[in-house]
Subunit: 345 residues, 2 copies
């Protein structure tokens, strides 16, 4: 991965990281020893479409203030953001249906935005801005510090409110024409389902298995549903087993397309239930084409709940910092919070 | 793409190319001005599992003889082969169900092979052996010489007897842990179909749309079926429109996974019917998530029926040859033959 865009200073003492989700935004400032301060807020969804970018700048200023860092001296920011993205005059704009009211199909957003000019606003304050899809950033972090080190062909998957993928083949993160590689949560899996995704499609992976969609269809929170299934409630168990089968099929489709050897699975559903769901997923994944799936393994993230923050920082990080972080594992000393999930929408 | 493996001579005067399909094998020898001779035979399927490799060597010797080239002086061979592959002691073996009787589900093969030691046999005769999946080789050729030049994120797809993909993201061909990236023809598209693929799966892309599967289900050759549909036969038209819809969905799934901007589509079905199928495919591809599919285009191969041969040669080609080939387009002067399709099985 090219983590050193042209113009990037190699001598910054500090850098900023942003984790932008549909629900929450987190801003972090770090030095070469690790994160110094982190502040969060619900993601802004009213005003002009510059609001999320301006909120991000304000949060980063607050984080810098908390850490005693002069914001104006920080040259680089790494951004882990929900997508998809489009490029406008070569600058990345976010077109996420859970933030932009002019795109979303649910009609519950207090704006009519059709895009958010994220890179434009951030470039007014930073010399270097590196924006990646949240699961791509998480994948980068797991490859640098976590459970995907030295795995050339691998993926990060979040099973949470939404479903997202970050993909790496032959040692290189995949981005695609607009940085949208990894939206495999929108792969169409069946034409016989009435389950509808937030994007409007019927029967895509997210419609069939995401926490948000399971909640809409079964009127129980994902936590209640998965706990009931674990405790033996027959109806909940049937629903969860079916969702798990679709999730395993999605991993199969990605494996047969990309010849992946390992998946790290994050997100609240897997974090709490991966222990008993894993054999079901492995069974579905491995029962279709053994020549392609033999030896494929699953794992939880090595960075736990901070994979998005560390991923964002890593995107902006000078090349000589990761070695020290691999040793000191600063994410282990970050203040605990309610676990959240990159890609959660 | 790394076309210069270690040990590769940069000063070879000649190089060999092999196109190995489930039906036919083609051997070509070329110099820096273009192909000099080409011979073909039905792919060997009896004897020991070394037979296809030994047949390949014999055919290459014959091609060299026809061209007045000393086989023993040729150091490099590029191989475009049907897959999947496995690696055994770091050497590529072919585990294609249409060649290996110990794997195929149809029970019509005169052998019990579970693999073909292709690289091992070829390395007994060549200093450098570069083997790629046939659609990856075709993609490499289209990127070097054809209709995918300067397209960073793109794919080659064959719609023929079988369905195969070659994938390129961010300017790099995708290979995966065993060189099997691109087997997206085995993506599962529905759980409600009784259409069975040669691999045994129900409802994968190949089961739903490949020429072989359409022929098995409707007892008409793909040529008859597609011609009847074009001529307005109502039943044939319904079948073909349905298949085309699945094909478009497969392209959508690949686009949403990899953020591709252009597909080159080869194979006999597209070659003969792409003109009227293209609007149907585009409609299905573009009706699910405009943010990801806007601007995605389709095209036929620039290298026509010789894309596999040129692809194989390109894999072994010194870095200074392609410039001349782009100018002289030697594939335009190769003797015509019945069009065949990389990935055809």
């Amino acid at each position: 991965m090219n983590r050193m865009p042209s113009g990037k200073s190699m001598h910054s003492s500090y850098l900023c990281g942003l984790d932008i989700g549909g629900t929450k935004m987190a801003a972090t400032v770090a030095d070469r020893n690790g994160p110094l301060a982190r502040v969060t807020e619900p993601t802004a969804k009213s005003g002009t479409n510059r609001a999320p970018g301006e909120q991000a700048v304000a949060l980063l200023k607050k984080a810098c203030n908390d850490a005693g860092v002069n914001f104006d001296e920080v040259e680089s920011v790494g951004v882990s953001s929900c997508g998809p993205f489009v490029k406008h005059q070569d600058l990345i704009q976010m077109v996420a249906p859970n933030i932009c009211g002019g795109i979303g199909k649910q009609g519950d957003l207090p704006n009519t935005w059709t895009s958010v000019p994220l890179e434009e606003v951030l470039r007014e304050h930073f010399r270097t801005v590196t924006i990646e899809n949240d699961c791509v950033a998480a994948l980068a972090a797991e490859r640098a510090f976590g459970n995907l080190q030295d795995i050339a062909s691998c993926a990060y998957v979040t099973w949470s409110t939404g479903i997202g993928f970050g993909l790496c083949v032959d040692g290189r993160l995949l981005r695609g024409k607009n940085g949208n590689a990894g939206h495999a949560g929108h792969m169409l899996m069946t034409d016989q389902s009435t389950a509808q995704c937030g994007c409007g499609n019927l029967g895509d992976v997210e419609a069939l298995v995401s926490g948000r969609n399971l909640e809409m269809r079964y009127r129980r929170s994902p936590e209640e549903l998965f706990n009931a299934a674990r405790d033996g409630d027959a109806e909940a168990h049937t629903i969860v087993v079916e969702a798990t089968r679709w999730f395993g099929r999605a991993l199969f489709n990605v494996t047969t397309t990309l010849d992946i050897s390992k998946f790290v699975i994050g997100g609240s559903i897997w974090q709490h239930h991966g222990d008993w769901l894993e054999p079901l997923v492995i069974h579905e994944l491995s029962s279709h084409m053994p020549a392609l799936t033999a030896g494929v393994t699953l794992s939880s993230p090595g960075l736990n709940a901070f994979v998005a923050d560390i991923g964002a920082l890593y995107l902006a990080m000078p090349e000589d910092w990761p070695i020290g972080w691999r040793e000191s594992k600063p994410w282990k000393h970050m203040p605990p919070e309610k676990p959240e999930c990159p890609g959660g929408k």
